[in-house]
Symmetry: C2
């Protein structure tokens, strides 16, 4: 609870207002704390729940979403009516739900149900010289706070992953999706109740004010980890305010390096896919690096193809020799996350220069090399310090589903706790268990 | 870099002083940033260093410490002369170094040299339906900042573990150990130079001011993780100021629960060991819980033995029936970390009540059960949410060396990244590597 503000410090006229505001801030903090306490209690029960029980709840959630599709879509229309005008077209698209969106949420929950349950796995066990048997066993993290922006499907997706990994979750979506998220969470809670699991395992924050998030981020001891998902501003703000560990996802400035031994058809297909298939996502290529020795053969065809696909090109001086219409790249272009059909292109003096460029301007997200040279492939894999490093494949594969983790709750670009896509396993930790027969320490 | 203070906001007379202070704060920040940048560059080289190279450096460090023992002890005497008077006896003991202390540091470095190198281990590899081969490979965290108090042996120990796991380290020990730490770090750097590894891989902060730590804790992007080691105040202050992920070690309020099926001799030996063998450390027992059904047979002999050993007892009402000289325990005693020969004792109604007590008052550090009942042992292991949970063994085994991790750099009581003792493996993370032959995403 926040201390009362010191009323002697403010001029007389604003005391009433300050009292009102302070009371309301306290109310908000109390409401958030209450929810977190209920989440904590739910997490203890959930940690002991069996896989079959959790899977039944996931199936129940999927069914409830399907059965109440009309209510969810009606809530979504209310959100769109209230906030649609103030949103960009892209944001409105992310907010809008249709029949097939609800069906996709239900399908995603069923997919999580068939994934293996990470909780209880003994990852290793060994015996000590004094006879102690020591093991490490996977346990849930506890209470997870998810703070995200527009897309209401995150509500169901995150809840499903948290439930399967035995965690309670506090969800705080964008205010523009308030009604949609509440309707979805209502379905999920209904299914929890029906399957005998604690309803408080999935909660949306009851208070929509910004102060509610601030209060949430102070609840160390009740909340174990915060996962922000959204734009740079959201993530920065959470990082600055949180006293709770944050699993952060910074920007994705992804590179493809085309080596002079590359199969040029393969390089072209990988670079096109990495840039054009879905330019607005974090694992899309933002800078293409090309070895000088191959540039005369590769760049003319590649740049023409990008130009035909409507990609705006920003090249170094050497690149622009091959396509005069390319804009000159500035220092800001190296390191830019366009999330758009824009590409920075640079000719480099070989593998070493490519690795240096990535170390200097990259964001440790995803980098790929296209090469036929075994030693260079190995060196790139070893020396590039990114969460996913690929040889002869598109950067677009940095995704939990694509890499075989099942589903993902986000991609971590910090090395703490998890680095890269985070699936069910990354929502757990391990504790040590020790079996003895009376051992004491000498 | 901090922005210049807004000089219009302060009265005229202090402008000069503020300018001077701001300049100095900037100087300190620049010095710390320079060290962190050198550490970052060193970390990149270290990540690629082979095990043999790192082990040679560790052996060189051990030899340098032995060869320059006299210099280190002289530096330590200067620290003691300068700060000894203002320190408690315990703190002076922690600061004081003797011949055998330096020999122990050298021996610890040699022990780290023989531990397996975690870097480069492929922890798993699998094939996707599209032919991609996906693996997870261990890599160093990068740059680690260690912030600790008096004991100068932490300087060598932490540096050894960080080096072996391929990390650069910035060390900031207590100001009272400044000269000792500098002398030790000098030996370590000499050995790095001699073995061709970057000297900047091990650095003590050049600036001793408190502002140096504040500046360090803002260097996200240069420093990957902060590990504070010391009292509650140090850790709280680091947690509040840091924008960098912190591997935190909160207090250890450890419990032993004596079940009514316990072998009473074993219970007595485990409880004595857990409380008395070394009361000042985080894995010592602070509260003993005893099942009501066994209390009449167990408590009289156990409490007498504790009293004989000079342990101050603070019991619940029921406990005090068995030893009238025990003080009554207050609500503050449950949850207290005494770090001393003091013990809280409570009679409980069985396993369920013991688990509830631990969930409410414990610190998720270390708990043990003494029992002969298989089902209860399993339930305690499963339901107690602590970093180390033991059956029929002393809490004092929560220690990286004792559990077989080799050496430890600390014990994490947060579930993020690591939970429990942190050895070499916990100073690494994994990245994904992907081998393809032209795969793109549909």
């Amino acid at each position: 609870m926040e201390p009362e503000p010191d009323l002697r410090q403010v001029p007389e006229w604003s005391v009433t207002e300050m009292k009102a505001r302070a009371a309301s801030a306290q109310e908000i903090a109390a409401s958030v704390r209450g929810q977190a306490e209920r989440a904590r209690a739910a997490a203890r029960l959930l940690a002991r729940a069996g896989s079959a029980e959790k899977n039944r709840a996931l199936e129940g959630m999927a069914k409830a979403l399907e059965a109440r599709t009309a209510d969810i879509l009606a809530a979504n229309r209310r959100d769109l009516e209230r906030h649609g005008i103030s949103l960009s077209e892209a944001a409105r698209d992310r907010l809008r739900l249709e029949d097939k969106g609800v069906r996709a949420m239900a399908a995603a929950l069923r997919e999580v149900a068939v994934l293996p349950d990470p909780v209880g796995e003994v990852t290793r066990m060994w015996r000590r010289p004094n006879g102690l048997e020591v093991g490490r066993v996977r346990i849930p993290l506890g209470v997870i706070a998810m703070i995200y922006e527009s897309r209401p499907d995150v509500t169901a997706g995150a809840a499903g992953l948290c439930l399967k990994s035995g965690n309670a979750v506090l969800l705080r979506g964008g205010s523009e999706a308030f009604e949609s998220n509440r309707a979805i969470a209502g379905c999920l809670q209904e299914a929890l109740r029906a399957s005998g699991l604690p309803e408080a395992a999935v909660q949306t924050l009851e208070r929509g004010e910004r102060e509610a998030v601030d209060a949430l981020l102070k609840l160390e001891g009740l909340v174990d980890v915060v996962i922000p998902r959204g734009g740079e501003n959201l993530i920065r703000s959470v990082l600055e305010k949180s006293r709770i560990p944050v699993l952060r996802h910074a920007k994705g400035v992804c590179h493809v390096y085309v080596d002079d031994t590359a199969d040029l058809d393969m390089a072209e297909s990988i670079c096109m896919n990495a840039k054009v298939q879905r330019p607005g996502v974090c694992n899309a290529m933002e800078t293409m690096l090309v070895d000088r020795a191959i540039a005369p053969r590769f760049l003319p065809r590649m740049l023409r193809r990008f130009a035909e696909a409507g990609v705006e090109l920003r090249g170094c001086e050497e690149t622009r020799k091959y396509l005069g219409t390319a804009k000159p790249a500035t220092e800001e272009d190296w390191g830019a996350e366009y999330l758009d059909k824009i590409l920075a292109v640079r000719v480099v003096g070989g593998l070493e220069a490519a690795i240096e460029h990535i170390a200097r301007y990259g964001s440790a997200h995803t980098e790929a090399i296209v090469t036929r040279d075994h030693a260079r492939a190995r060196r790139f894999l070893r020396e590039v310090d990114s969460s996913v490093v690929l040889v002869n494949a598109s950067t677009r594969f940095n995704d939990g589903g694509q890499l075989g983790l099942g589903a993902e709750i986000g991609i971590s670009t910090s090395k703490i706790h998890a680095f890269g896509p985070m699936g069910l396993e990354e929502l757990t930790t391990t504790k040590f268990i020790v079996y003895g027969n009376g051992q004491v320490r000498e």
